[in-house]
């Protein structure tokens, strides 16, 4: 992204939580910021890269991004690192020892929890890391707080020489609200000073650091007790008082404007005395936290009488429509079956609209082909191509974690049951996911002589998160030229035999089909690399669109099985075959205004009914894939 002039200080602007954190990172004088893209965290680093005076990078995975940030913080510079919740699972190896060494320059790690699962494989609670790694956790409730807590995070980090976790959720990262921004204060790093007893974590040194970590815990808890980020708002309705953190605080204030509330912004370590102070004001205390009962459990262990997950869900957001009935029930009040206005709040039944692959997506050809090859078990991975599990392809059987397709494919191979003995094992992984955590799995597969056909879908982008650059496409975060990985050479270096490596154009269905069918029969590791770009990035070039000659369409529906959203059914019918079997017919048209001429649907069309569009007047193509 190109650098732009930052918004002047003292402006009040509409910013998402991600944009607010980015602004604060710049204002704090951060020198190094690193991340791997992941919803809902991605925009933080994207926006940071538009600010001057700092270095930003897309790292190959979250662990590397944290290590880059740790190095910068050891060098005395301020550093920033962000990731989605599952990213910290990858990065935690570094975190758990970083907590012993601490930092010199401030280090804030923003972790974005996808509460509500808008685009994730699980809903874990990152506040656990604060307890596990003995580091403070700050929880903003809106963009202004995300901004302010990021700035404060650097002060806190440097004062206690501790990394600070900024725990965000989707409802913070992606909500836009007003933020008053300030001036940038440059920060000069002290430079790296050799201090092996602190920075070389061998057992003898680490053992001496552990008591310091526990001492720091006590100091941080005392600080949380007096922190301005933790405050009690008194209220007239003392039947229930609330302890709330993160966006749940806003939902509590919205739902119970007259109730006393303890707002925890500095939520780990938990300020127990402050919680007791609230408890003394009210009849009973309800802890409102997304997702796990962390504060609640700790308070109960302290003998503070609170309730929480007994009446609130352990999953999803605690929005007003969840909170209000739960508290009404607690108070023994009647809960209207319908909504706040006595009307039904049940949604009208409408078909589901799951995310689809884009018009002309290069993955369409891959999944169409996989759906045509019999007897496969397909180990999938994380990215746009996870959508291959859906209709019409149903050609992806597993999805667990980044890079898991590799190791799991080997496990599916080695752990075959009697019923799978003739099954062919295929693994499907994208370019960026492969570089993130797939390479090691492939190495393991080769080393241990697995029988797996790997489809490496190189679309030159981190597609699902918006087409970010990565080492596979030869561009860095600034769009500047960067060394580009040669996937064929890389997999050869990992030990895949040269004759088992194929580069295929995924729009050439017969070649793709033959290559997959041949390779699954070979009882060793093969890698088939597809090499066409994501349709949403600049490397993609549109071709002349197609249309259907209605008279020629026989209604066979083969083109629909490709799964392209530009193909629409015009009418349906039935035909009785010579065998007496009745088959459904679906006659189609192509929405030529969005078709970009990839030609995938043309190939399975037996009657040659799909031809280049011959417009009567010039048409305008829409900018992006799925538009209307």
């Amino acid at each position: 992204m190109a650098a732009v002039m930052p918004i002047p200080a003292a402006s009040r602007v509409l910013l998402s939580g991600n944009e607010a954190v980015a602004r604060a990172v710049w204002e704090a004088g951060v020198k190094v910021a690193a991340a791997y893209p992941g919803t809902p965290s991605t925009e933080m680093l994207e926006v940071i890269s538009t600010y001057p005076d700092l270095y930003a990078e897309w790292s190959v995975n979250e662990k590397v991004s944290l290590e880059v940030a740790i190095g910068a913080a050891y060098a005395g510079s301020r550093a920033f690192c962000c990731m989605k919740h599952v990213g910290m699972n990858v990065a935690s190896d570094a975190l758990m020892t970083l907590t012993l060494t601490g930092v010199i320059g401030g280090l804030v790690i923003a972790i974005a929890d996808d509460v509500g699962l808008s685009s994730s494989q699980n809903e874990q609670d990152s506040r656990y890391w604060g307890r596990f790694a003995h580091v403070p956790v700050l929880e903003p409730a809106d963009s202004q707080e995300a901004y302010a807590m990021t700035l404060y995070g650097y002060e806190l980090s440097e004062k206690y020489q501790v990394p600070v976790i900024l725990r965000m959720t989707t409802r913070i990262n992606h909500v836009k609200s007003l933020v008053e921004v300030g001036e940038r204060v440059p920060h000069t790093g002290a430079g790296f000073k050799k201090e092996p007893g602190r920075f070389v974590m061998v057992p003898g040194n680490a053992g001496k650091r552990i008591p310091l970590m526990f001492k720091r815990d006590i100091e941080l808890r005392a600080l949380a007790e007096t922190s301005e980020l933790n405050f009690i708002e008194k209220g007239s309705d003392t039947r229930v008082g609330f302890i709330a953190s993160g966006p749940a605080y806003m939902h509590v204030k919205e739902s119970f404007p007259n109730a006393p509330v303890l707002k925890l912004g500095f939520s780990c370590p938990v300020p127990f005395e402050k919680c007791r102070e609230l408890a003394a004001l009210v009849d009973q205390v309800v802890v409102v936290e997304e997702v796990e009962p962390l504060i609640e459990t700790e308070l109960k262990a302290q003998g503070v009488n609170v309730i929480g997950k007994e009446i609130l869900p352990l999953q999803g957001e605690l929005s007003p429509n969840v909170l209000k009935p739960a508290i009404a029930r607690l108070l023994g009040e009647s809960v209207p079956e319908n909504g706040p206005n006595g009307r039904s709040t049940a949604a009208m039944p409408v078909f589901p609209r799951p995310p689809t692959m884009c018009v002309a997506c290069p993955h369409l050809g891959v999944y169409y082909t996989l759906s045509q090859v019999r007897n496969l078990t397909i180990s999938g991975d994380i990215g746009c191509y996870t959508l291959g599990a859906g209709h019409p392809w149903n050609a992806l059987d597993t999805c667990v974690s980044m890079g898991a397709s590799m190791g799991m494919a080997l496990g599916l191979d080695k752990g075959r049951g009697e019923t799978d003995k003739d099954k062919r094992i295929v693994a499907v992984i994208g370019d960026s996911t492969f570089l993130h955590m797939g390479m090691q799995g492939l190495l393991d597969m080769v080393y241990n002589k697995g029988n797996v056909t790997v489809l490496l879908l190189d679309n030159r982008a981190v597609g699902m998160t918006g087409g970010q650059d990565n080492p596979g496409n030869g561009r860095d975060i600034y769009g500047d030229t960067a060394p580009r990985v040669d996937f064929a050479k890389l997999v050869a270096a990992l030990g895949v035999k040269e004759e088992r490596i194929h580069k295929v154009n995924p729009y050439e269905l017969p070649v793709l089909f033959k290559t997959i069918r041949d390779e699954v029969k070979v009882p060793e590791v093969s890698v088939i690399i597809t090499d066409q770009p994501c349709v949403l990035i600049k490397d993609y070039h549109k071709l002349k669109p197609f249309e259907v000659i209605d008279d020629k369409c026989t209604g066979c529906g083969n083109c629909i099985d490709v799964g392209c959203p530009a193909i629409h059914v015009t009418r349906r019918g039935k035909e009785v075959k010579a065998s007496g079997r009745e088959v459904d017919l679906a006659f189609v048209r192509i929405e030529s205004s969005v078709c970009t001429g990839c030609g995938l649907c043309v190939q399975p069309c037996a009657p040659n009914a799909i031809v280049h569009y011959a417009p009567v007047s010039p048409i305008k193509l829409v900018g992006k894939g799925c538009g209307a």
């Binding site: 009040r12 059914v569 799925c626 209307a628």
Partner: protein, 203 residues
């Protein structure tokens, strides 16, 4: 907080729902309101359902509109306008594009697209105004103007002057030249007129 205005903008990924809501938020802020905008999007870039919430007023706490409390529902697509009816408050209004965007799961014969979403919405008793924003945009020469047509459509259903919203829309196109500004002005007015006419016909 009942004094807040709640606007729900719905459609599918790629239609510009989120941008439209952001412009509405900018207009509310220009009027001195506090505002929060949120959506459930995530994977919506891939043609999924998008619902974008805008709340504004003196002070906004929760960014989410509670079901049954939306003042206006701006629907970029017919079935999507139907999907979110339960979000409207009694007396709330739906302003909807009559465009039908049929997803692959319907084309595959796995689900049916509702025969007449407009009629289904009318059956609920909710007030609804329908217009063909896509055709209006195409008549003006570019389907991408549909977003501005939709903003024009809501312009007379806001607690502030339509001109404030128009200014915010046009500001977006200033850097791209006078021609595009003019085109968007016409798209905005066309959307506004379409809703005005449709409402007059209902009265």
């Amino acid at each position: 907080m009942s004094e807040n205005t709640n606007i729900l903008v719905v459609g599918i990924g790629g239609q510009g729902v989120m941008t439209a809501t952001e412009i509405l938020a900018e207009a509310a802020i220009a009027m001195g309101h506090d505002a929060k905008k949120t959506e459930v999007a995530g994977m919506a870039q891939r043609g999924g359902v998008v619902s974008s919430h805008l709340r504004f007023g003196q002070r906004v706490l929760s960014p989410q509109i509670t079901p049954g409390t939306a003042d206006v529902l701006l629907g970029f697509e017919s079935a999507e306008a139907m999907r979110w009816q339960h979000m409207l408050r009694p007396g709330g209004i739906t302003l909807m594009n009559t465009a039908r965007l049929v997803p692959p799961v319907v084309e595959l014969g796995l689900f049916d697209y509702p025969e007449d979403p407009l009629a289904e919405i009318r059956k609920t008793g909710n007030k609804v105004v329908a217009f063909d924003a896509t055709s209006i945009a195409l008549e003006l020469g570019d389907i991408r103007l549909g977003n501005t047509v939709m903003l024009g459509a809501i312009a007379d259903h806001l607690p502030f002057p339509a001109e404030t919203l128009l200014d915010c829309v046009l500001k977006r196109f200033q850097r791209k030249g006078e021609k595009l500004v003019e085109l968007n002005r016409r798209a905005f007015e066309a959307g506004r007129a379409a809703v005005g006419e449709a409402e007059a016909a209902l009265a």
